[in-house]
Amino acid sequence: MKGMTDVATEETAAHGAEAGAEHGAGLAFHPLDQFQITRLFGEGPIEWYTPTNATLWMALAVLVIVFVFVFGSKGRALIPTRMQSLGEMAYGFVYKMVEDVAGHDGAKFFPLIMTFFLFILSANMLGLLPGSFTPTSHIAVTAVLGFGFFIFVTILGFAKNGAHFLGLFWMSDAPLILRPIIAIIEVISYFVRPVSHSIRLAGNIMAGHAVMKVFAAFAPMILISAIGVVVTPVSILAITAIYALEVLVAFIQAYVFTILACVYLKDALHPGH
């Protein structure tokens, strides 16, 4: 797939772009080109240690978080400054979410959940800058977050509850005859969780950015044909509207990823229906 592999070598990336250009059958623009992983400098294939645009923007996301929180927690005034207030609001928001959903013994997993929320939020927000790259639009990044958390939660569930953890799949509210069937369905839906968890974030961000690129491709129509007098202002308004939606989606997707992580954590700590 052209735009969505992340350890693509230069050769396969170029081949994919070529094939895309041929397959396009006359399509003049390629809105999925923005998701391609490219080297930052130098030539040659992309190894695991190569600095790419993905690693750069992930590093920038982390730096932004560090900047906000280091400068936010320097003051410790009773009446907070703006930066301190920002840090305190983010902390209180996520802490309240963890405690409400995962319970009091879930609160010790707060640093992990806070890391998810802040990383996804700042990666999404930085991806809205013109000309930037959004690491969370790649299924590779979000799958590591999603599957990694799923493996962690499953191991935690077995470590904390032993065989009782399997009580998660055994609905004691259902009639005895139906319980095996429901158990099978519950097991399948448990294993689908990391898939939907990761693909929701990647799909939302990728779809939003691709839609923006499609409208952006229509915007310079005024330069090539007369119908551009109508098409250009409409598409510029559309880009503005979609951009506003994308800012909202950036925040909502970070929130949804985090709150679902809290729900899965609660299931691991207190299994059983």
């Binding site: 397959h23 409400d100 939907s196 929701r200 799909g203 939302n204 929130y255 949804v256």
Partner: protein, 79 residues
Amino acid sequence: MEIAAAAAMGKFIGAGLAAIGSGAAAIGVGNVAGNFLAGALRNPSAAGSQTATLFIGLAFAEALGIFSFLVALLLMFAV
């Protein structure tokens, strides 16, 4: 009609059919939000505590619409 042209046509028709899924997602999301609104107008003081459930429901309904939009995009630009 040769294979390449038929394949291109099939791609575009397939992308159009896949986009119907986005409309279905709109119905689902509207359902969730509408039921939340109906409940919140009946019991306003309990509405605040359920906004988390609202967002989780919206996310699940929207995710499936995004999956079908993803299929449409993949057919258009990456096949």
